[in-house]
């Protein structure tokens, strides 16, 4: 080219830097714009690369031509010295308006070029996108897999064996599972043969020293107990109380039963579910094995759930059926409690007394502010 031709083509003698992206394409960029990127700047100064097409600077893989274009737009604007803070801010705000995918690519690319102001700008923008979203929404936005397990979402409970409380809890779970498993096995027998109850009761009363033969029967927490409760109610008004008292006596009798090895054998063979707490007491006192949590837990989960669901239903049904009477009972119990406290009037209950009689201090008056 002649000088005059060159003069027409390039009126100013600008320097250009040649950059090559990972896909092989090469482009030239005004030197001052390219130098705004620390990584490019270093390459130029240290290696002398970039001055011609053949010696184009290889950009990191994360910088594709489209993203490079964006980055260069950013650099082109900001490398101009005279701009005010407000101008720059306005530009930035407009600049980052793009879809999330592109924003991620831009952040990544800017990071690889060590262009910190742009990294900060895009990172903040991404942070604002993330803020206020639920994990599900974030996953959707960024197309991320839902690969945390339910347990991991809660807390990796099972992975921690060094916390003694976790170990204890796991041991208790294991016992519970074993207990339920055994009941599962024996459940069928119970439904078919009611007569077995009697024999167990006899055995129990034998163990308990013959203190009445109906304790175990009354204390049973399943359907039988419900029916029995209703029957008792027909008989007398205070049967609920009696039923409960009986159960309590039984619970008191636990230690002696449990020391008795015979009881272990008996409860193992028992066709019916005797007092639940007795069973569990047996489990606590008798079993010393550590169970392998993993298999049993998976096996039993639905069974355990079903079991407990039934119990809650029973409990709820029981509550529903005799709710009005129970409310009366409970309220009368509660009233008694209050009256007793008031009448006693000892030091510990003065606050309560105030609450009942005067009523002024019973409101949540904050002691401190």
């Amino acid at each position: 080219m002649t000088e005059s031709a060159m003069a027409v083509v390039k009126p100013e003698m600008k320097s250009y830097i040649w950059l090559q992206t990972a896909d092989g394409s090469i482009q030239q960029v005004e030197e001052e714009v390219a130098m705004f990127c620390p990584m490019i700047c270093r390459e130029i100064l240290q290696t002398g690369m970039g001055s011609s097409k053949n010696y184009a600077i290889s950009l990191p893989q994360r910088v594709n031509p489209a993203i490079l274009g964006l980055i260069l737009d950013y650099c082109r604007f900001h490398q101009v010295p005279g701009r005010s803070n407000k101008e720059r801010k306005t530009f930035d705000e407009k600049f980052i308006r793009m879809d999330t995918k592109k924003l991620c690519e831009l952040t990544s690319a800017a990071d690889s070029l060590q262009l910190k102001p742009l990294v900060d700008l895009t990172s903040r923008a991404l942070a604002r996108i993330i803020e206020g979203k639920t994990p599900e929404e974030i996953r959707e936005t960024f197309h991320l897999p839902d690969d945390l397990t339910e347990e991991e979402k809660l807390e990796p409970l099972r992975n921690i064996t060094d916390d003694p409380r976790i170990r204890l809890l796991n041991r208790l779970y294991a016992r519970k599972r074993k207990e339920l498993r055994e009941r599962e096995k024996l459940k069928n027998v119970e439904i078919e043969e009611r007569v077995d109850d009697r024999s167990v009761d006899d055995l129990l009363s034998f163990i308990n020293g013959g203190d009445g033969d109906s304790k175990a029967v009354k204390a049973n927490k399943n359907k039988k107990k419900n029916r029995r409760r209703k029957d008792q109610q027909k008989d007398s008004s205070s049967t609920n109380e009696n039923g409960n008292h009986d159960k309590i006596e039984e619970l008191d009798a636990l230690p002696s039963c449990c020391q008795n090895n015979e009881f272990d054998k008996i409860s193992g063979a028992s066709p019916s579910r005797t007092v639940k707490s007795q069973d569990s007491a047996v489990s606590i006192y008798s079993s010393k094995n550590e169970f392998d949590d993993a298999d049993m837990y998976d096996d039993l989960d639905p069974a355990m759930k079903e079991e407990l669901d039934r119990e809650v239903e029973d409990f709820a049904r029981r509550l529903n059926s005799d709710w009005p009477e129970r409310v009366q009972e409970i309220l009368s119990l509660g009233q008694e409690r209050k009256l007793v406290t008031v009448l006693n009037g000892n030091g510990s209950s003065t606050r309560f007394t105030k609450q009942v009689l005067i009523g002024g201090s019973s409101l949540p008056i904050r002691v401190r502010r």
């Binding site: 994990p135 409380r165 007491a281």
Partner: protein, 584 residues
């Protein structure tokens, strides 16, 4: 489509996360996917544990190895009203011990309603070389000896805030343990301390700490020493005065006024025990800049309060005693158009008759006059549905509304009706209501409103309200965002609780005292939901000595991944999954 996660380097993601500090968002991030969980846990610097028993220190340490700031809460909120017996728990020591070895670079510890011992304080002072911030809010169990250890050993301490803690005050000498070379104090709050600290030591401390921004004195600091302190710290932003009483002396008055005038950055005032009204104008130079005024200890009468408040055009937060009366609140409404938060405390809560003229009208005035009012705590003796409805319509932007009508079960005093409609209006109109406290005569209807409208409600406090379990059922089934529920003296029993038991796993905690929840139900709950700790608190003795249908005295249920705690006193039992209450 290209999976964006794969284009994202770990350090880039970490950098993005560094702009997200809110706990809720950090938690969300960690639950997105495995890789984000991993990245997030390595760069988490701040931990907030709303219930110290929900997780163990070991679990926290294992998951977050780079923590610099820990915030823990211990006792349930109702402990503030003496409903949680002494010795219940909330001990911080196991946390301090664990963190002492795991987090040598720990900088901040913030505790609320926890039991802190001198041993803990000493351990803190010796274990964390770069320790900067200690905030003990409503804590107890330590003495000024522990504070001496902190003062003596924490060379980089910036914040020592003992807000409303119960400190065994052995002497005021602890303050002198700050070494002469120590200059980094930014915030000091000793307002709760009872005994005198050496004023000259305090003056020297203030003198050599150029970054001091917050100084809350305690009551014994005499008024005539205030000017000296203020003069040494003209850069103060928050100041808590001590006792504002002295014989009237014009030189003291003018010194005070001059000192306050020079504090051009002062935005917050508090303290002011025993105010002599004549001295009050000495703070007038600060009024136009004040955004926060805490006069909850100040026995200032309505007229003087009005004069003061009428100059505080930029006030955003006001805590005051009911001496302010309706007239003072009207003045507040006229002057403080930027008011965001109002708390009115009772001067004589246990008096049978009202001692001040503070009624529902005061609150109505403020709701009319202050368009930015978001947070209200109001103690009064009378209320009407009409007033509440007006307040609700005026201020649908409210997020925290706590009304304490002092006498339980007080009806609308004009119509004698329950206050269901009024409280219902609040929850209906204030769509972003997060915190709600109820009082007065309330039936199940009120709770139906709450369940229906309280979708953003996070914390609800109920006392002496409701008729049946239906009320509790409405709340548990309707309030989608509920995290904390505290109930006392309500006729709520087993039904609603058991029917909505699964809800409890989505909440931080439930407190029920003097209600009708039976021991049997507690056991059943624990069986069905092993991730819940069901604590029965009963000072009458072991629950087993009473019938299973007998209601428990107090019940505290909270979700936990740490399992049953092992530090319970003799009157607390955690229901075991094995259907028997665990003893300590």
């Amino acid at each position: 489509m290209l999976r964006m996660a794969s284009t994202f380097q770990e350090d880039v993601l970490e950098h993005v996360f560094s702009f997200i500090q809110c706990h809720k968002d950090r938690n969300s991030i960690s639950m997105v996917c495995k890789s984000w969980y991993e990245i997030e846990r390595w760069c988490r610097k701040r931990i907030f544990v709303g219930n110290c028993y929900a997780v163990s220190p070991q679990i926290v340490i294992r998951r977050f190895p780079e923590v610099r700031s820990v915030e823990l809460k211990g006792k349930p909120h109702f402990a503030d009203f003496s409903l949680v017996p002494d010795g219940w728990g909330g001990y911080v020591h196991p946390w301090i011990v664990a963190m002492a070895s795991a987090y040598p670079l720990l900088e901040e510890i913030k505790l609320k309603r926890m039991v802190v011992t001198d041993e803990s304080l000493e351990l803190i002072s010796k274990s964390f070389k770069n320790f900067k911030v200690l905030v003990l809010m409503t804590c107890e169990g330590f003495s000024t000896d522990g504070l001496a250890a902190i003062a003596a050993n924490c060379r980089n301490l910036r914040v020592l805030d003992l807000r409303e803690s119960d400190v065994e005050d052995l002497s005021g000498h602890w303050l002198s343990h700050f070494p002469d070379k120590y200059t980094s104090l930014v915030s000091l709050n000793i307002a709760c301390l009872v005994s005198e600290v050496s004023i000259s030591a305090l003056e020297r401390l203030v003198d050599r700490c150029p970054n001091l921004r917050t100084l809350w004195l305690n009551r014994p600091v005499p008024l005539d020493r205030h000017p000296n302190l203020l003069r040494r710290a003209p850069q103060l932003v928050e100041f808590g005065a001590g006792c504002y009483t002295a014989d009237l002396r014009s030189d003291v008055f003018s010194n005070l006024t001059t000192a306050f005038t020079s504090c051009t950055e002062l935005k917050s005032l508090s303290g002011f025990w025993d105010v002599v009204p004549a001295y009050l104008p000495s703070v007038y130079p600060t009024c136009s800049r004040l955004t926060s005024l805490n006069l909850s200890y100040a026995t200032i009468q309505s007229d003087d309060l009005t004069k003061l408040i009428s100059q505080c055009h930029n006030l955003q937060k006001l805590w005051v005693l009911d001496y302010i009366e309706d007239s003072g609140l009207e003045a507040l409404a006229d002057t403080c158009k930027d008011l965001r938060e109002l708390r009115v405390f009772p001067s004589e809560p246990y008096g049978p008759e009202p001692n001040v003229s503070l009624t529902e009208q005061g609150l109505v005035s403020v709701s009319e006059g202050c368009p930015k009012l978001q947070s209200v705590l109001y103690f009064c003796r009378q209320m009407t549905n009409a007033a509440l409805v007006t307040i609700a319509r005026n201020r649908p932007n409210m997020t925290r509304f706590r009304l304490c009508i002092m006498e339980p079960r007080t009806p609308d005093y004009l119509t004698n009706q329950p206050l269901d409609v009024g409280f219902g209006a609040i929850v209906e109109h204030c769509k972003d209501l997060q915190r709600f406290s109820l009082s007065g005569l309330l039936t199940d209807r009120c709770f139906e409103y709450i369940g229906n409208y309280g979708k953003k409600l996070e914390m609800l406090s109920v006392a002496f309200a409701g008729d049946t379990d239906l009320a509790l059922h409405h709340v548990l089934s309707g309030c989608d965002s509920l995290r904390k529920l505290e109930i006392r003296d309500c006729p709520f029993g087993d039904k609603a609780l058991l029917a909505n038991a699964a809800k409890l796993e989505t909440m931080r905690s439930l407190w029920m005292s003097s209600c009708l929840v039976s021991f049997g139900a507690c056991k059943l709950l624990a069986q069905k939901f092993p991730k819940l700790n069901v604590e029965v608190i009963d000072e009458r003795g072991h629950p087993n000595i009473r019938p299973e249908s007998c209601p428990v005295e107090k019940l505290y249920i909270y979700r936990s991944v740490a399992g049953c705690r092992l530090d319970m006193p003799g009157f607390v039992w955690t229901m075991d999954g094995d259907a028997s209450p665990r003893l300590t």
